[in-house]
């Protein structure tokens, strides 16, 4: 995809700038690039769907949209084998502890995509007595994909943005986004 076609370029550039400010070693930096190249091209999703968005995720896996092209097709049923979690659907009060536990069970490094307006803000059910108003209060979110439900193309774009973020991460030394997760976990402790 050409650079101009992306949105949020500024955000990614700021991320890169921030990472470069802390400096890096030539050898370590090269290793980082190698590892991130591999990781960003084989991110495995967790099979996690609560409602409508999950069906579009099924379409994404089938022949027409074919997420296997990007190396995402290995949807794992166990969070311990997955890299990222596509939160497809509404998260309600009763699901919150389960959802949080699934997130905690994901192996590091882990990422979350909030897929669809329900996961982002509660969507059409925001005023309900039994709906969490967005998953951002429960887990840290990397990419938001709006839509009700988002089209498979939008989901592809969202996951591609995630792999862009993974590409600029630093695995060895330096500051990376793990720090912000630590901060998050301090304010939202694991019980």
């Amino acid at each position: 995809m050409p650079y101009e076609a992306w949105k949020d370029n500024e955000y990614i550039e700021n991320l890169v700038k921030e990472l470069q400010e802390s400096g890096t070693n030539v050898i370590v930096g090269t290793f980082d690039k190698l590892i991130n190249w591999g990781r960003s091209n084989s991110i495995w999703p967790l099979t996690f769907a609560t409602s409508c968005c999950g069906i579009e995720f099924v379409s994404l896996g089938a022949a027409r949209f074919d997420m296997a092209r990007f190396g995402w097709e290995v949807a794992r049923s166990s969070p311990r084998q997955a890299d990222f979690m596509m939160v497809a659907g509404t998260i309600v009060n009763r699901m919150v502890p389960v959802f949080r536990r699934l997130y905690d069970q994901l192996a590091e490094p882990k990422y979350v995509i909030a897929c669809g307006s329900c996961a982002i803000s509660g969507g059409p059910f925001r005023n309900s007595y039994h709906v969490a108003k967005g998953i951002e209060d429960i887990v840290p979110v990397d990419v938001f994909v709006p839509g009700c439900p988002p089209r498979p193309e939008a989901m592809i774009y969202g996951i591609m943005q995630l792999s862009r973020k993974i590409k600029v991460e630093k695995f060895f030394g330096g500051v990376n986004r793990q720090e912000s997760r630590k901060e998050f976990l301090q304010t939202h402790p694991i019980d």
Partner: protein, 543 residues
Amino acid sequence: MANLQEKIAKQFAGTPIAVDNSGMPQLTVENGAWHDTALVLRDTIGMDYLVTIVGIDRGETLGCIYYMMSSTTGETCSVRVDAVPDRETPHIPSVADVWRIAEIYEREVYDFYGIIFIGNQDMRRLFLNIDWKGYPLRKDYNDDPALNPVSTENERQSDNTDVYSLDENGKVVKKERAIFQPDDFVVNIGPQHPATHGVLRFRTAVDGETIKKIDVYMGYIHRGVEKLCESLQYPQTLHFMDRLDYFSAQNYHHGLALLYEKAAGIEVPRRAQVIRVMMDELSRIASHCLFMGTYCMDLGATTMLFYTLRVREQILDIFEKTCGARMTFNYPCIGGVMQDLHPDFVKDVKELLAVIPANIKEYNKIFTGNVIAKNRMEGVGVLSKEDAISYGVTGPSGRASGWACDIRKLLPYSIYSELDFEEITRTEGDSMARFKVRLDEIEQSARILEQLVDNIPDGDYCAKVPKVLKLPQGEWFQMVEGCRGVFGVYLNSDGGNKPYRLKLATPCIALAAVVDHITTGNKIADLITIGGSLDYIVPDMDR
């Protein structure tokens, strides 16, 4: 209908019989006499299928309206029972032994209104966790989030359930009962499990590999749609129908729109009716296609998904051109449909109809005749016709047990009475029958489309409807055939522009309730087969 009314009047001389606004006879029964009346209604009048129990908050009192139907003639009636004595401990006799499905419907009413059903052997909350404060559908419910906060703390579990009875002074006495036997080995399946098709949770007592009992937990996607509807204007409530059973979005929209039109007395143009029926049937094909794909995937045959989704994507393209969305269409509206058909619609549908027979042949070749599929599905999870009726299992699953429960035939709505199609029923009642019924229903839906595709009349696609729709005071009930069974809507209007009470009676709650009954005695691997063949949609049961 008149016949039924006479029958009821003869049987219950002295009981007030009203006719509600949909022309359905409505009995008002004394609280104490309800259980005996229910038995008479089932055995003498023939009301053997309980459609739904509608809880309602009438301000001073709480009460229930029971909608029931004859499984053979399609005659429908309703019974109104008020809870006594007050709002503190309102109670009604349970009818869980008359209609098996009542057990779970009564739990739902208890969850929403706090009405205790005397004699129900399992009086727990259904959707909300056990520490939830308040009963959300009561009009005086306090929805302060501080009372019931969103918390990452695990919900409290209990191995006991409550049973209520009346003592000689008429006071409610609570007793605890264990759900499982003390030496049961209980395995938890779900809510995050790939084979539960969403977030459904089973607590399964197993003896070796054999299932002894399943306790179904719902509510992991309970979004409170019925309460939300009470604060929205009539046209605004329609869009929730897309998000219940997202495969039957068109059918559910159709149902609710029919109800509002009936209440407002709006005549729908012929063109809109034809469009609606065509959309219904298209979504039925798309739904059954996805069912076959995911079901075969549950059983380990991944390839099938790619074949069935090919047809589904073709239908979604047709939808997208006309409705502008792939899934949440919001297409049928009050008085007709939102916009006119896309110019390519007829051409696209014809292309679809041309490929369907070849595709069905292919599905049969890949899967239906397969030895492994036969071994895993034949004779697994047999549901008898009597149990299907008692548990209210409708749709393809009910028809696989031999119960001709298609609302399109029993109580034809829109233009279905003019159409020529067969109602597919089978007698085996096992997982294979449920699979085959769906496969054959695709053919029948295609037949309906064939009849209509060249006969879409010209004219308006939507009737003139006032901008702010106010419905007169009264009660209405409407049933339509969704892709998974009977979808009923109950509306109580107080004359304003918002529903006073809107009850959505969805088919999947019965499909989940019957899981315990048909899996008992089977192997735990068959739970996947049976659950998949019932094809429940979790947001549809939880609402």
